[in-house]
Amino acid sequence: MTITKTIESDALTLALSGRLDTTTSPELEDEINASLAGIHKLTLDFTELSYISSAGLRVLLAAQKKMNVQGEMRVVGVNDTIMEIFEVTGFSEILTIE
């Protein structure tokens, strides 16, 4: 998995590509923990992401809880298979998906 990071003042965009699974999700968690200070708008770009497991969902939930406090978070470019995972697990109710 690769993470491409873009910052415009208080807006952070993380574009993910590849697989967000048990072994790669700690990378995203570290990245979010390191970059979130002063960020009011977090965008996760899933356009190139092919796969997400419960470990990835855990990181998304933690990020959403943080952003609920300090601003807003949205997830963009979600493909059908990942969307189905969000729906099955109820994450589609929690996340802002565009």
């Binding site: 699974d21 497991s53 419960s54 809880k65 298979t81 697990t89 929690i94």
Partner: protein, 714 residues
């Protein structure tokens, strides 16, 4: 009932709890009650009698005094008149202090009056002869409520002088005024005189004041003797009661409590000896209780009971030991029998042309049903379904022999089930002294062509499903049962199996399974269960029939062995792959190796990307679970098996680990409707596996967690 048993009580508690102590208390209480009542009654009676007697005496005395007065009436009247006159004349101020010298001076001249001295002396004699306290004449001053004394019988030193007065109670006055020629009496208590009975007789009026003759009898000494009687009686009663109840309690202790205590001690000793295995046999008989009542009777019965129990326990011990031994042996027999039936599935992991599954549930410890399957050679698979007559140990012995014989003859006559059965029949009949027999369906499948040769020796019809069709009973030709008669020639027939065909074999335990009302499960329900399976696969059919029978039978006891076998035939163009196995360290960083292994198989089978992603996801969740939790204190390995099978094609992945037993299918599903703040991520992985896979099954076998998931991949 006491909260503690006698055994747990302290000595003091036992004493308090004892029948003797209770009787003692009860008798004591009752005696005190009766004593108090008797005393109260005695006193009341005594007081009443005394009162009546002394009242009458006072009245008589007053009457007598009155008569004496009449004798000197004129002089008495005259003297009284003078005293009353002087009293009235003295006025209220002087009257107020009758002891003052000024007041006494008013009456000085009457102190030497002869009438006064004579009458006083007369009254004195009257008093003495009647043992009264005082007899006197007084006028009643109704305004000031006073007795104004005129004559008095008492000794000069205590005598009331003419003009002296005492206060008069209004109740007294009312009583005295009732006297008109008849004496009246009044019982009263004053601080000065104590309790006394006063008799009064009206004599005459003087200057508007009524003059009476009075007689006082003091009752204080009566009251005193009454009190003395009281405490003497009380003391005597107490002594009697104490002694009586002590005696009674003692008798009770000796006659009842002690024998009972000895019985209960013997019972305790009995239990203790039995626990510790001591051989003392006469706990109750040796007590020798001879009270001649129910307790002696009880001790005799206990002695008899002990003797009976001893015999009974000896028998029971022997019988129980025997039964345990038989139970243990049956258990071992069951294991041998179970072990003789092939029970690893899939049975031939490297054969992709067919798959099969079989199961047997014996009704008793050991049963008479059996199934069998074995490769005679590379291209011939033998299938056996058989049912021995009868149940239990004889049937099991017969079954083992039959199974071995079929197996042996199949190796010789590999081409013909009829010849095999004919040969087996001859052998069994030769040594069959018990007259037992076995029904057998025997088939030999030529794996490469799908040609199934079969012979039926009195067994149930097989059930067949052609690819894409429904399960139907295949009415084949029946021969006679094996072992029933010598010289039988069995006939065989052929069924040609094509790709996707299924064969279901069973014993009569399936259609004849009972519910609690003794209705039979029947062949129709069997077909219904078979046809309800969505993904045709041998184990699914067998499970469906087992489940349907379980639901049908409910709580009814299983009456017959339930045995079945299901075969899927695919032939050369098979959707089955050989089972591939990966053994790997159970560590999270091996995840990509695991997924790579899975993906390689799935891609080779043209698995759709979405199904592949879902399988990957499921395998990841389950493998990460194993890696994280199965070996908390050590490092271990996980084994992953994958194969595909069936039409439509399914992938089956089995994950095995030797870690702590854990069944993830029992996890409660997480609440996926909660807000982000309340969400906990736990359990989401297994939840997704359940959602995405067609089936997830957990078993703990041979010290391993075995988790099997399947997913349709076309």
């Amino acid at each position: 009932m006491p909260a503690k048993s006698v055994r747990e009580m302290t000595r003091i508690e036992r004493l308090r709890h004892s029948l003797g102590a209770r009787t003692f208390h009860a008798v004591l209480l009752l005696s005190i009650l009766i004593g108090v009542l008797a005393v109260a009654f005695g006193i009341t009676l005594y007081a009443y009698t005394a009162k009546t007697e002394y009242t009458q005496a006072a009245e008589h005395l007053a009457d007598t005094a009155g008569s004496v007065m009449q004798y000197e009436e004129q002089a008495v009247y005259e003297y009284a008149r003078k005293i009353v006159q002087r009293y009235t004349d003295a006025g209220a101020e002087l009257q107020a202090d009758p002891a003052s010298a000024a007041y006494r001076l008013q009456f000085q001249e009457f102190m030497d009056d002869e009438t006064w001295l004579e009458v006083n002396a007369l009254l004195k004699r009257l008093t003495d002869s009647n043992e009264a306290d005082a007899v006197y004449v007084a006028a009643l001053d109704e305004e000031a409520m006073r007795f104004v004394y005129i004559f008095d019988s008492q000794e000069p030193e205590s005598r009331e002088l003419p003009g002296d007065w005492d206060p008069l109670a209004s109740a007294e006055l009312i009583r005295y005024k009732e006297s008109a020629g008849e004496p009246v009496s009044y019982l009263g208590r004053t601080a000065e005189y104590g309790v006394q009975s006063t008799g009064a007789l009206y004599l005459f009026d003087v200057n508007g004041m009524k003059v009476f003759a009075f007689a006082d009898i003091n009752l204080d000494h009566v009251m005193q003797s009454c009190l003395r009687f009281l405490w003497q009686f009380g003391l005597l009663l107490a002594v009697l009661v104490l002694a009586g109840s002590r005696l009674l309690a003692h008798q009770l202790q000796k006659q009842v409590v002690d024998p009972i205590n000895r019985l209960s001690d013997a019972a305790l000793q009995y239990v203790d000896d039995k626990r510790k295995g001591r051989q003392e046999a006469e706990h109750f008989a040796k007590l020798g209780i001879a009270t001649g009542d129910e307790i002696e009777n009880l001790s005799l019965i206990m002695a008899d009971m002990e003797a009976d129990l001893t015999t009974y326990i000896e028998n029971l011990t022997r019988v129980t030991g025997e039964r345990e031994r038989i139970g243990t042996e049956l258990n071992i027999a069951r294991k041998i029998q179970e072990g003789s039936l092939p029970s690893t599935f899939p049975p031939f992991p490297d054969r992709t042309e067919f798959d099969l599954y079989a199961s047997m549930h014996a009704a008793k410890e050991v049963g008479g049903d059996f199934y069998d399957f074995f490769l005679i050679d590379d291209d011939h698979l033998a299938l056996v379904m058989a049912d021995v007559s009868g149940k239990g140990v004889p049937a099991a012995l017969f079954m083992m022999a039959s199974k071995m014989l079929i197996n042996n003859y199949a190796a010789i006559e590999k081409d013909s089930p009829a010849k095999i059965l004919t040969a087996v029949n001859e052998r069994i009949c030769a040594g069959n002294t018990a007259g037992m027999f076995v029904t057998v369906w025997l088939g030999i499948l030529e794996i490469s062509t799908g040609v199934l040769k079969a012979a039926n020796a009195g067994h149930e019809y097989p059930i067949l499903r052609r690819a894409g069709g429904a399960f139907e009973v295949w009415k084949d030709k029946h021969g006679f049962v094996v072992g029933g008669m010598e010289g039988i020639r069995y006939k065989e027939y052929e069924i040609c199996l094509g790709k996707g065909d299924q064969l279901f074999l069973y014993t009569d335990g399936v259609p004849e399974a009972n519910d609690k009302d003794e209705n039979m499960f029947g062949i129709e329900r069997t077909l219904e269960a078979l046809n309800s399976v969505e993904l045709p696969y041998c184990k699914n059919e067998a499970d469906a029939v087992s489940e349907a029978i379980r639901a049908f039978a409910g709580k009814a006891e299983q009456f017959d062995d339930i045995t079945m076998l299901c075969l899927n035939y695919y032939g050369k163009e098979t959707p089955m792959t050989e089972t591939k196995t990966l053994t790997i360290d159970a560590k999270v960083d091996k995840l990509h190796d695991v997924l790579g292994f899975i993906d390689a198989v799935l891609e080779e089978q043209d698995c759709p990307p979405k199904a592949q992603m879902q399988i990957d996801l499921s395998v990841e969740e389950l493998f990460v679970n194993i890696a994280s939790y199965a070996y908390p204190d050590s490092e271990g390995q996980a084994e992953i098996r994958i194969r595909t099978f069936g039409e439509p094609k399914q992938a089956e992945i089995v994950l095995l680990d030797s870690g702590i037993p854990y069944d993830p299918t029992k996890n409660e599903d997480p609440d996926i409707t909660m807000a982000a703040e309340d969400r906990d991520i736990g359990g989401l992985g297994v939840f997704m596996v359940k959602k995405y896979m067609d089936s997830i099954q957990y078993a703990y076998e041979n010290g391993q967690n075995v988790l099997t998931i399947t997913k349709t991949i076309e």
